[in-house]
Symmetry: C2
Subunit: 637 residues, 2 copies
């Protein structure tokens, strides 16, 4: 007997067998519902409300929800079973989708594209749980405990010759007997073989979990992934504690070389940062570190070295050689990570010292290397990493953009956080300013997208010329100090920091150098391959611009190529998403290794190509205006 | 230009190119010469004397030999080069062969057979050194250090995708640069892949070494193996320190279960025992623990469990299930072994709780599973382990023989050591006794072969009957105490312990039970397969009988089947030899795993077969005299 279940407000209808849970129904309708107890009715995260129709409910579990929710009609989706055609409301807080902001395109503003994690790959997690039931030994059938386990794994799960380490073996005899020859085995792929990470007595029905981590130079974000459903069920970010020993990769590399135990110190700090995130994710999902059998990290090459305890010395010295681009899969205990001690830790392969695993992860996730169309992938952080290619070839480079777009070296620069100015409007006659801030809070600084907007608009209305120099303008917002010129964006009275928030001429020159470096990098790749800009089919913008990037403005200042806006996509933190993808798809991980191998690296410091391009690019938008046909210049400048 | 080199006293002649060293010549003649410095001229162990002919000698190294040796004409074989037809004397102390006793067959006494380690397998060591020279990186060719190393290993040694662990990786950058892009890489096979164990700067010409260890319940023997030449270059044995917590495997298993930390204690003691042996071997061969990249151990199943820290609890309890018969390859550091921390440690696979890796090692080394002929393999220690089979099938069993043949439970029983009585003659008329002891020292006790001899002769001359009971005989050597009867073998005045050395009626009954258990085990295997004793083509006797075993006597008491003496071979400590073989031949190791899998185990406690056979076997030689047609019985008994 089948019934239809309609979910609102989505208005998605699905057909399910009588007796299936509402959680099951939502999953088969493609709607992600939060759940971390494996349908045991204990986490209370899958609350829904049945608007119409009959259902069977296991009242035993109803007390898990607070009374006020119960009174409002909420029930646990995992303990309610279909008995009728139903209409079910899924409240916002029970939903998995964290990207409420969908694609919208108004005035060239691009929101982050919501791409599902698997993105075309097969769900085949790097780590799985397998429930085994075996016969007890007797005098006529006395194979060893380990051989018995192996035989059942082969028979019931087609896993042949798994790696079994000593720590696991030393507990095996007691575990098998404690579970009366029923056990739950967690196996993880180590890049060569399947490895038994954990054996628990009895049949544990909790799903298998993994952790994906994007280890950024500045911020670290961890995602808790339900390996069976292939969904991120929780996420948390924080600042990289290494920052106290240096803001960027170069200062951290110097710390490693100049301080005794500098490397150990930095490794310890990043492990601490990650462990804190994991602890919080575990606590709020009622999990233990032993439940995490696998972790995939994605980071730039220097961060990967520091994470693994490899000295980054030669990354900084010409010819910029990392110790390893393909690093070994290690065990949690080797690094002191807060996961199962025998759990496996993958690090994304890198291409070179300055094109790291975070970029490979991004290329993997965005499927560039699986499509015919020529794609330009740009990740703008302290370094601008640029990849150009398609299914047949990939070329990459890194240009020292400096930290300007992340707010570094800019007087009131800030990261994309609450209160950061992300858009700026300037009246062309009065030069009066209107700013939009993240979460509409009182302005505290200017983030990357705000800075781009700001320069574009200041140039458009004639406050600065093509070199970024301030022009003589009649505006109370322009102020001149003994060594700089300032343009006030937010008056002290309206700002959230009790001071005027301005952008200075020096700030602008810094930004122009940064944007020039990125554009020169793009041009260098194209010229190396003798390709014209127009051949690019798609441009993907990854990284730290917050949720929005004003593409028109970015083109107007000459940061991005002057191509139709519909060719652009803002793909967000693809470093993290690629790590999530690798966790749940062995096929995807294998492809990451192929990407790492197939991608060519163009070292920009060889020859004059990059420097020539850079010198042309430190104008608004560029020396060669033919490259920016759509940009109308202010008549006077 | 080629010359002939004749080695004396062997009178073996070989032909070598001019300019080759005498060490090289000896090796190609199949004569093992001691050498542990890799022909660097520093260890001084390869001393030889040229009797005739011209040679070139690098005098620089002559001072390594003591003056008196130099005066006697000795030179280093590794630094003397062929320029003429030569006659070269190799003194005993420079020879590798430790079995000076060659096969001889007089009066049924069998000496240990001297079988070369490889015994037909291909020399392909589990661990090798590879010298690599690579190009330094430059800006146009900037692959990572690890990838550069991998590429050269693939190109120069055809090693693909080796495992490289973090500890090695963390030192790699500095090592490569210190060696100016010349390095010596030690790689070891881990059962699945090759693994890089060590990278040294520069080109190290020392050979690669491995350690083979026979971990016996009572004694532990370690052998230092030159992996390139495939030769054991030094050997050392000692008592297993675990003995202080229990004499046999059962008492040690009980210690594990009854004492808190009992397992840790026993593991620690055996590791200490092995480490001491290794330290001494390293010191006297001028090597460091880092020079040892691999170790293969062979032991019974309980000893393997204790060595690896696996609890043996269920080995002792019905249905006698070990945690593992195939144990993982682990790293030296995991067990705290005195080898390179990243060096690999193999343990021989076992068949069952009471047929262990030592037996698999013995079957491997003696090639039973590669031959058509039906072979019976018997290792008599505390347990008698018996294997029957050929290339098509192998069946094994274990019978609790008790420690009698190792001297346990026998009043003056002792191991095969200096002063142990190993042969006994009794005058049939006077009952006067003549004993032979090991090293002809004053008698201190009776070892296994001596005990067998003793019972056989006592029965032959009529001192005991077929049940082992003392007969009324007129002899001053027979004495009667309140609860036992004694037969004095050595008078106090002639013994090395200041007391009469005797064998008592109880001793003899113990021995008869032991020999009965072994023979009943053999019969059980044969009857299970419905085979007649006569079908056995060869009988191999392994284990602790010292250097000699009197086969005729062993048949006469009914310990061994009554088959022609030429079918017997005494093969010595095959557990150690199999471990040495596995070290130097990957093919052999792989075959050991096949043996472990193909061998069937017959549990003698199931059914009545064994007990029926045992009851028939506790007579001299047996209840069924048709089984011992060659044994003439004393008329009166």
């Amino acid at each position: 007997m089948k019934y239809t279940v309609t979910f609102i407000p989505d208005q998605i209808t699905t057909e399910v067998e009588a007796g299936k849970s509402l959680l099951h129904a939502a999953n088969s309708a493609g709607i992600g519902i939060k759940s971390s107890c494996g349908s045991e009715g204990t986490c209370g995260r899958c609350k829904v409300k049945v608007i119409q129709g009959k259902y069977l409910y296991n009242e035993k579990f109803s007390s898990i929800l607070p009374q006020k929710h119960r009174k409002a009609g909420f029930i646990l989706a995992c303990k309610a079973y279909v008995e009728d055609n139903l209409t079910v409301e899924i409240p916002l807080e029970s939903r998995l989708d964290e990207h409420q902001v969908l694609l919208e395109d108004k005035q060239g503003i691009l929101a982050e594209k919501n791409i599902p994690i698997l993105n075309g790959y097969t769900l085949d997690p790097l780590c799985k749980k397998i429930q085994l039931t075996m016969d007890a030994p007797n005098l006529t059938e006395i194979i060893s405990d380990a051989s018995r386990l192996e035989a059942e794994l082969s028979k019931q799960a087609d896993i042949k010759k798994p790696v079994i380490g000593l720590p696991l073996l030393s507990q095996l005899a007691e575990t098998l007997r404690k579970g009366d020859w029923q056990v739950t085995v967690t196996i993880a792929y180590n890049g060569r073989d399947y490895e038994i990470v954990r054996v628990e007595p009895g049949h544990d029905i909790k799903p298998c979990y993994g952790i994906a981590v994007d280890i950024g130079t500045t911020t670290v974000v961890a995602s808790l992934v339900d390996m069976e459903r292939g969904l991120s069920i929780d996420k948390l970010g924080t600042y990289n504690r290494q920052a106290k020993l240096g803001d960027d990769v170069v200062s951290r590399m110097i710390h490693c070389s100049s301080e005794q135990n500098g490397l150990e110190e930095l490794q310890h700090l990043v492990i601490q940062t990650i462990n804190d995130l994991i602890s919080k994710l575990l606590a709020r999902n009622n999990l233990s570190h032993n439940d995490i059998g696998i972790m995939v990290t994605s980071s730039n090459t220097t961060m990967t070295h520091l994470f693994l305890g490899l000295h980054p010395k030669y990354i900084r010295l010409e010819p910029y050689v990392p110790t390893a681009t393909f690093t070994p899969v290690v065990k949690g205990k080797e690094l002191g990570l807060n996961i199962h001690p025998e759990g496996l830790v993958y690090s994304f392969p890198a291409v070179a010292s300055y094109v790291g695993g975070d970029i490979v992860s991004g290329v993997l996730f965005t499927n560039i290397s699986k499509k015919e169309e020529l794609t330009l992938f740009i990740d703008i952080g302290t370094n601008g990493e640029i990849v150009l290619g398609n299914q047949d070839w990939l070329i990459s480079c890194a240009c020292s953009a400096g930290p300007a777009f992340e707010g570094g070296g800019i007087t009131y620069g800030t990261r994309a956080m609450k209160g950061a100015i992300e858009r700026v409007e300037i009246d062309k006659d009065t030069f009066e300013v209107k700013v939009s801030t993240i979460d509409s809070a009182k302005a505290t600084g200017i983030c990357g997208s705000g800075l781009i907007d700001c320069i574009a608009k200041m140039h458009q209305v004639g406050i600065i010329d093509r070199t970024g120099a301030f022009q003589d303008t009649e505006s109370r917002r322009v102020q001149i100090t003994h060594d700089d010129k300032l343009f006030i964006l937010v008056w002290k009275e309206e700002s959230g920091i009790g001071k005027d928030i301005y952008i200075s001429e020096n700030d602008i020159k810094n930004l122009i150098r940064s944007k020039g470096a990125v554009f020169a990098g793009i041009q260098s790749l194209l010229k190396t391959l003798q390709l014209e800009i127009e051949l690019i089919d798609k441009i993907l913008i990854a990284g730290g611009f917050g949720n929005y990037l004003n593409i028109s403005d970015a083109i107007r200042i000459g940061l991005l190529p002057d191509l139709p806006i519909e060719k652009y996509e803002f793909v967000g933190n693809t470093s993290l998403k690629g790590a999530e993808l690798a966790l749940i798809s062995k096929e995807a991980w294998n492809h990451a290794e192929i990407i790492g191998k197939m991608m060519t690296y163009l070292e920009l410091s060889v020859g004059n190509l990059f420097m020539d391009e850079f010198m042309q690019a430190i104008f608004l938008p560029h020396t060669d205006l033919k490259l920016f046909p759509s940009v109308e210049l202010h008549a006077n400048l």
